[in-house]
Symmetry: C2
Subunit: 144 residues, 2 copies
């Protein structure tokens, strides 16, 4: 079963080409870099497809400091730790975790970043409130 049928999305020649090139990369790449390696796919389609892949979990999107471009990688594996070269922007995968003995040999670390994503209390509260009022409305609607 192909990735496309697995994720219940339509298979087109463009998407196949994008997926193949994405899979072939050894580290995350920009949309522009992908575009240069793929023939007969418009930039608009490329962006739309990358977005779709990210939604489905087929690809992962990264941002790095001081760089307005986004980096994409095929996300079969669960990698989410990288050593990012400040010069060539290469994102080198880091195997394993946590922290110690984890940085690739021969990589000179000058800085690092550690961020957690999730939901703060305020937003969880707001979400809960919204759900409650939605439920109320549904009930009210039922009665009428």
């Amino acid at each position: 079963m192909s990735l496309f049928s697995e994720y219940k999305i339509k298979c087109t020649p463009q998407r196949e080409r994008i997926l193949n090139v994405l899979k072939a990369q050894t580290h995350p790449v920009t949309a522009g870099e992908l575009y240069a390696h793929i023939d007969n796919v418009s930039l608009a389609t490329l962006y739309r497809t990358l977005e779709l892949f990210c939604e489905k979990g087929i690809a992962k999107k990264h941002t790095i400091p001081d760089d307005s471009e986004k980096y994409y990688e095929f996300s079969a594996e669960g990698h989410r730790h990288f050593a990012v070269c400040l010069i060539c922007r290469k994102m080198i995968k880091i195997d394993g975790c946590p922290l110690k003995d984890v940085v690739p040999e021969d990589f000179l670390v000058t800085d690092h970043r550690l961020e957690f994503y999730g939901y703060c209390r305020d937003c969880r509260q707001k979400l809960a409130d919204m759900n409650r009022s939605a439920a109320d409305e549904a009930l009210t609607a039922d009665k009428s």
Copy 2:
């Protein structure tokens, strides 16, 4: 001695206002948010000043996934770890490190990111080569 003279940059009313508002923030903010809180400073000046502050180490710039805006914070303290709410984008400072018992209470973690920045071996090598040839040129120039 003011921050401006300390960093050897000119003090102007615009820069003072930007610095004050930046200092007053409890978490990193976008240029747009700052702009909304500062009168009589053009967006161009704001961006130029933020860039200058970052170069001098007075401010720090952050990027977060799925967000094309940059976030700025006054960088007196050495904070560089955050919990980022996926809804309101608030960046909550994390005190201390490493990893354990480090996430703010009441923050529901769904994902995290750990990246190291620095220089890969290839780029260090290229840099060394460039420096060497620059030195060679200097020597050659000396002789002529």
